[in-house]
Chain length 475, copies 2
């Protein structure tokens, strides 16, 4: 889902009444970022509070290439990483993930091995189907048991777009909440549906209801589900004791065409890129009685902050043996403070850009390769900023491109290198980047070259590269 898919962020059809009310009752973050413009590394960052380059969710075999965990890759989240639910156990939190995991599909990587007590969902995205003996469809798990597969027991009609999956995930979520409320147990629910991921789906009640087509139907169903989850918390009387945060894992996949694409609002490009359309996310915090209603926070915030903030509000100390990139947003949420911090935009193993204050400084620019572009895959349809949305990887390290995102959210007008403004920003950001790079010890890359075709592991570079191409191409 993209920044621009919410009514409160200007989607013209205004079809997210529940999220808009959530914002009116909570705090809206227009400057909220993911840690990588692709699913797996973004989710690994959410759960570890660390940049993918630290937690290992990147590759070193192709410069600036994002990587994830397609069904063919054997890598996954390292045993050395400490995930949020593991830490929350110290305070007896029960944790459940519902929906897409995406941190590795081999048994040692699955959620129950990394701190979650319960899981209903799939290790990977629902796209496919693979549906043959060599590449079976993606499994759906109920805890540690496979309970079926997408397109088989869990139907998705690619032609009509009908699927009950979001309703199934919703019921799982409501039931989990009820159980914990009844048992008076503290809980962490990571509700991660994937209805807006191509191939987009919705259940019968929502199909055809949106002005935006099937993608809008999926958004409406997610919006409705979130409304039901919030209402359920209220009906159980635990809303004053529950922090709810809504966000997305990357910008809308605008390469997916008219029928499967979301909106990144006024921002440039989308998923896979480090332009604002790929990295800036819709974000709303909700906690009646604690977070002041109807506030807008301009805090530069990140998906990694959810790790640190969750620890803070539950009274758990973060690990002290590693760098944590997340920031504790408590002062923001409860006192509307503004904390000084940079945002780093990584694409694979390459830091492409940095934001400090209103300024974004691009050290590398790239949309996608001419080779891929010429096959019809366009990361920036309808958008072209000369020298910015480049189809070759362009290094600007010596003289970065600098934009003022308040005046120029669409990254169209680089600030003149001859201006004092440019020199001031360049000087400030250089210090920030030097500090970041000095402290940076990259984690062992987990998504490099190992892969299998489901059952039989076939270790070959050909296979790995093929899988990587496949993930970039098929999203």
């Amino acid at each position: 889902m993209g920044w621009g898919d919410l009514g409160v962020f200007g989607e013209p059809s205004k079809e997210t009444p529940n999220l808009d009310v959530m914002a009116a009752q909570g705090m809206l973050f227009p400057n909220f970022y993911t840690a990588n413009p692709l699913c797996s590394p973004s989710r690994a960052a959410l759960l570890t509070g660390r940049l993918p380059v630290r937690n290992g969710f990147y590759t070193t075999n192709a410069h600036a290439r994002n990587a994830y965990t397609p069904q063919e890759i054997v890598g996954g989240i390292s045993q050395d990483e400490i995930l949020l639910p593991e830490l929350l156990k110290k305070k007896d939190y029960v944790s459940k993930i519902i929906g897409k995991w995406h941190l590795g599909h081999r048994s040692q990587y699955l959620p129950l091995k990394h701190g979650f007590d319960e899981w209903f969902g799939s290790p990977n995205c629902h796209f496919g189907p693979y549906n043959n003996s060599v590449r079976p469809n993606i499994p759906v798990y109920n805890n540690s048991e496979m309970t079926g597969r997408y397109y088989e027991e869990f139907e998705i009609n690619v032609k009509t777009g009908e699927s009950n999956l979001t309703q199934i995930y919703l019921k799982e979520g409501l039931d989990f909440i009820s159980q914990q409320a009844t048992a008076q147990r503290p809980f962490f629910l990571y509700w991660a549906p994937d209805a807006t991921h191509s191939p987009v789906y919705a259940s019968e009640r929502f199909l055809g209801k949106s002005q935006r087509g099937r993608y809008g139907d999926a958004v409406m169903e997610l919006d409705d589900s979130i409304g039901q989850i919030l209402a359920h918390l209220v009906s159980l009387g635990i809303h004053n004791n529950t922090l709810v945060f809504f966000t997305s894992d990357n910008g809308a996949a605008v390469m997916s065409g008219a029928h499967q694409s979301g909106s990144n609002g006024p921002f440039l490009c989308g998923k896979e890129t480090t332009f604002e359309g790929g990295m800036r996310e819709p974000a709303i915090a909700w906690w009646p009685g604690r977070i002041p209603a109807g506030t807008v926070s301009y805090q530069l915030a990140s998906v990694m902050d959810l790790f640190s903030t969750s620890l803070s509000v539950t009274g758990v100390l973060p690990p002290d043996d590693r760098v944590i990139d997340g920031l504790d947003l408590s002062p923001v949420l409860f006192n509307n403070s503004l904390l000084d911090r940079p945002i780093f935009y990584y694409r694979g193993n390459q830091m492409m850009a940095v934001r400090i204050g209103q300024y974004k400084v691009h050290y590398w620019t790239w949309s996608n390769s001419w080779e891929e572009y010429n096959t019809g895959i366009n990361f920036c349809p309808g958008q072209e900023v000369p020298g910015v949305t480049t189809h070759t990887q362009e290094e600007h390290t010596m003289q970065p491109l600098i934009f003022h995102l308040g005046q120029d959210p669409g990254e169209r007008y680089p600030i003149s290198v001859q201006s004092e403004e440019y020199r001031d920003v360049h000087r400030q950001v250089t210090a920030v980047v030097e500090q970041h790079q000095k402290d940076l010890i990259p984690g062992m890359p987990q998504l490099n070259i190992l892969c299998d075709f489901s059952v039989t592991a076939k270790l070959s570079l050909f296979c790995a590269m093929n899988a990587l191409e496949d993930c970039l191409g098929s999203q």
Copy 2:
């Protein structure tokens, strides 16, 4: 001001709290249009309820070229047109215009000759300065007396962007409202400030306050002013008896660069074009007690509807001797009805496109000429849709480009001409267009070739064409 300049329409800085509250207390129109993507014809349409091609605010001397009333053109609103304030006199309404008139600067065209009882403002936009004996600065009128000139008695510091003009216009507005309330006279106030028009200005209290730079400062001051006007109506106790409508005359002038441009949100291109960015406008209706609070109307609506709706709510019959393009929105405002109607997108004398329902059908495409583009004037910066944002005038009459604006608000993905959807829409729209063209009797073009240099009328084609180029280039 553009569609995307309001927080409620997704401007990331969210700096229009008063307009956002106005929307929360009233009705928001995401599908509201101007009648022409340029100032003068848009305002002529507002006050006459008629398309510019009917009311004469167009040219026939250059195909698809928008025209307005620069200081050099002697044309203006025809005596044959009936303006809203003339009709409201039948119910004893006192009418005042504050700010920019733009329907002609010669004495016979001025507001007091066309139904307004009072005027404080200028016949033309504040850009310039001309400031020499041949081309003096734009005058500012207090009723029929010139009370000074821009850049002289009414200062605008182009370098700092400081000007008190919006505060002066605000005070004029509040005073007028107070006077009518005291006298218990019904009134029509046409409050038409121009702070967001390049060169953008704001008063000292707002300068430097926005995250968006000077343009944002101007928006904040307008937003604050509107908040004060609404609060004044409430404090006078006349809010339950006053319809307030907020809108803009054309899309944001994105050709004006990073510091003077507004935002058209997710829409394509801007001012001067018949893409959504040029024609779709922010729009909010407010009437506590009559218009249900916090509603969104998907009605396809137009600036010309304000003419018809104003007549309807005041109980005045519209003229029956001419075609009125405006629609009475009362059923929409008071009962949230949806009325079936097309939107016609004109550029100068050429119908470029038509919207019916969610479908927009382009018969002609054009951004601006290669010649102009190559001088650095770009009507679609950062945006390029091959075959759509063309730099030559492209006729598609035989096989129009059709977009679904719900699924594709950015006009990026023409619907396949081979699809049933295309054929259905094409058939429907053809009937609508044939009816429109059958009934269309163009008015006498008022903005064709006459011009003067202020005092001495010099009738020459050179002069006229020069003036037209000047207006296109200097906005």
